[in-house]
């Protein structure tokens, strides 16, 4: 990736973060913490990786993305809006009566959403089903899914992982946003899911650990996924991130898992993001 390309991604990520804080502020609820930790992932996925056309969001040959950690919809919506799937101004309707931006993703209402999710542990099964169907149909469609590390306590995640390895779904890219925090506190204290690399390896996956806030690392991880095509193994990207990344008072605070910023907090967040934007532009 050239410095210009990286700069574009960095600026896009600022736009996504703005969308997250503005939309959750307007909704007076929602999940900014895990949306912010996954912002670089969303940004890279939709700008560099996924074959998806905002003008033809139902194209049967598109790659699929399933947000298994569906509560991080604000990040997905902000990404889709900034890619042109729908107007950015509509982000402010998040969670409002009559809005097509539901609290958790709805595939029948929102352009660009490939699966309705929200109940944790279930998205990964649907992604595995899509990947299996692609194999059956001899299609080159790739399937991507994003999970939270707290979500991995759901037994169904491991049912789906077993299925994916059993059916050799090397067209499936499972990413875990390892931000280390969930509603009740640190993941290691609530229900320790580590060691994740050893677990997924033991389940028959190719595993790579990266810094999920680094575009260079994300590029490396998706290259790893591409190189694994033909290996007969699903790819797992364990991406270490910071919950609440990019908004100082939200960073590494479990309390910002599912809470919206108030007026003053929004103002401060937007100021910080504006500063970040200027810094990127000046670089």
């Amino acid at each position: 990736m050239t410095p210009e390309e990286k700069k574009k991604l960095e600026l896009f990520a600022v736009d996504v973060r703005e969308g997250i804080v503005k939309s959750t502020h307007a909704a007076k609820s929602g999940h900014p913490g895990g949306s912010l930790s996954a912002t670089e992932y969303y940004t890279y996925l939709y700008n560099k990786e996924l074959r998806a056309d905002p003008k033809n969001p139902k194209d049967p040959n598109r790659d699929r993305f399933v947000l298994s950690k569906g509560h991080c919809a604000p990040g997905l919506y902000a990404t889709l809006a900034n890619k042109g799937f729908f107007p950015v101004k509509d982000l402010l309707t998040l969670r409002h009566i009559g809005s097509y931006l539901q609290g958790h993703p709805n595939m029948n209402l929102t352009p660009g959403v490939d699966m309705s999710t929200g109940s944790l542990g279930q998205g990964i099964s649907t992604a595995a089903g899509m990947a299996k169907a692609a194999k059956y149909l001899k299609s080159d469609v790739r399937v991507y899914t994003l999970l939270g590390d707290g979500e991995l306590a759901e037994g169904q995640v491991w049912e789906a992982t077993m299925f994916s390895a059993h059916y050799k779904l090397d067209n499936l890219c499972i990413t875990v946003d390892v931000n280390g925090l969930q509603i009740d506190g640190a993941t290691k204290d609530v229900m320790n899911t580590e060691p994740l690399d050893k677990k997924f390896e033991a389940f028959g996956c190719n595993v790579i650990k990266i810094d999920g806030q680094s575009f260079d690392d994300l590029e490396k991880a998706f290259k790893f996924f591409h190189d694994n095509q033909g290996s007969g193994k699903p790819t797992v990207i364990l991406m270490k991130t910071t919950k609440g990344k990019g908004v100082s008072y939200m960073e590494n605070q479990a309390g910002w898992h599912g809470k919206a910023p108030n007026d003053a907090e929004l103002e401060q967040a937007l100021k910080e993001l504006e500063d970040a934007r200027k810094k990127i532009e000046a670089a």
């Binding site: 049967p60 699929r64 399933v66 709805n106 595939m107 029948n108 490939d114 699966m115 309705s116 929200g118 109940s119 542990g121 279930q122 998205g123 990964i124 099964s125 649907t126 992604a127 595995a128 089903g129 899509m130 990947a131 299996k132 169907a133 692609a134 059956y136 149909l137 299609s139 469609v141 037994g155 169904q156 049912e159 789906a160 077993m162 299925f163 059993h166 059916y167």
Partner: protein, 312 residues
């Protein structure tokens, strides 16, 4: 009298899948290590490349089927009723029902006629659970012919479907010319208008037997096979209420939440008449031969006759 042919509707299901498989390669079948029992094994044998075993993991089975349907396939997902409607209820609700996906959840071993396996496997709650999911079509065939035509109709319609098939071999009373339509009940006997008996599943032959017994005593019943529990055939229920003034419902399901309550819901709001419900009386089953269990728990012609007499 010639011996009546008996076939379990789970066998009908397996055979119907093979017929569908010959028609289209969009049909795929998933199971959770019960292919031999659910009879999806029949399909597996004919089309091994379109059969996917998910292992003993019913929640993932449902999710996987949902994902496949978004790729244009028509998945039939099978396991026992207990695990499809029970264990994976929330998966059916959230990943099939909520997005209204074109998945056919086809469960076998519904009701107490599962027999010897006992209460842990005798699902008498599936109609209730599936009926509460918006947009879900819920059906239960009464014999082999209806079961096969129902599978085809489920494939032809767009949207989520739940069908319950039985384990035990039961009489075949439809002929091959029978036309099945989703959402339409069927008058199978019309001896008169003293009472209407509305039944489904393997108890329809018992309802017919009850009507014969009642006739011998000068009580003339209409027997309706209500194979679609949701959407229920409101017109036929109301016509029965208006013509007969008394209704007995019969089902191999808890009296809470199933066919009986669906019928009562229609009647209570539009044309109230006295009703008696024959079903599992809010209790768990137990081990034993199916025929004996059905008798012991009151799911037989004698009970239907007795309940009818309460109304007269």
């Amino acid at each position: 009298m010639a011996e009546v042919k008996k076939i379990a509707t789970r066998d009908s299901y397996g055979n119907a899948l093979v017929e569908l498989g010959k028609k289209t390669d969009k049909v795929v079948v998933l199971d959770a290590d019960l292919a031999g029992a659910t009879k999806t094994g029949t399909f597996k044998k004919a089309f091994p490349d379109r059969f996917f075993d998910c292992g003993i993991a019913e929640c993932n089975l449902i999710g996987t089927a949902a994902g496949m349907s978004t790729m244009g396939l028509v998945p039939f997902a099978s396991t026992f009723a207990m695990f499809a409607a029970g264990r994976a209820f929330e998966q059916v609700r959230n990943t099939i029902g909520y997005p209204h996906l074109n998945v056919k959840v086809c469960a076998t071993h519904g009701g107490i006629s599962v027999g010897e396996d006992g209460a842990s496997h005798q699902c008498c709650e599936d109609f209730a659970l599936m009926r509460t999911i918006p947009g879900m079509t819920v059906m239960c065939p009464s014999d082999d012919v209806e079961a096969r035509k129902m599978v085809e109709a489920a494939y032809e319609m767009q949207g989520p479907v739940y069908i319950r098939f039985g384990r035990a071999a039961t009489p075949v009373y439809h002929d091959e010319n029978f036309k099945f339509e989703i959402g339409k009940g069927e008058v199978v006997k019309d001896y008169g208008t003293d009472v209407a008996i509305i039944a489904n599943g393997i108890l329809v032959p018992e309802a017919i037997q009850a009507a014969e017994d009642l006739k011998a005593e000068g009580i003339n019943a209409r027997v309706i096979n209500m194979a679609t529990i949701k959407p229920i055939d409101k017109d036929l229920v109301l016509k029965a209420a208006k013509d007969c003034g008394k209704i007995v419902t019969v089902e191999e399901h808890n009296i809470y939440g199933g066919l009986g309550e669906a019928v009562c819901g229609v009647l209570a709001e539009e044309f109230p008449v006295p009703v008696r419900r024959v079903g599992v009386k809010d209790e768990f089953g137990h081990s034993g031969p199916a025929a004996q269990l059905l008798k012991d728990m009151g799911l037989c012609a004698d009970t239907i006759v007795a309940k009818t007499k309460e109304l007269l």
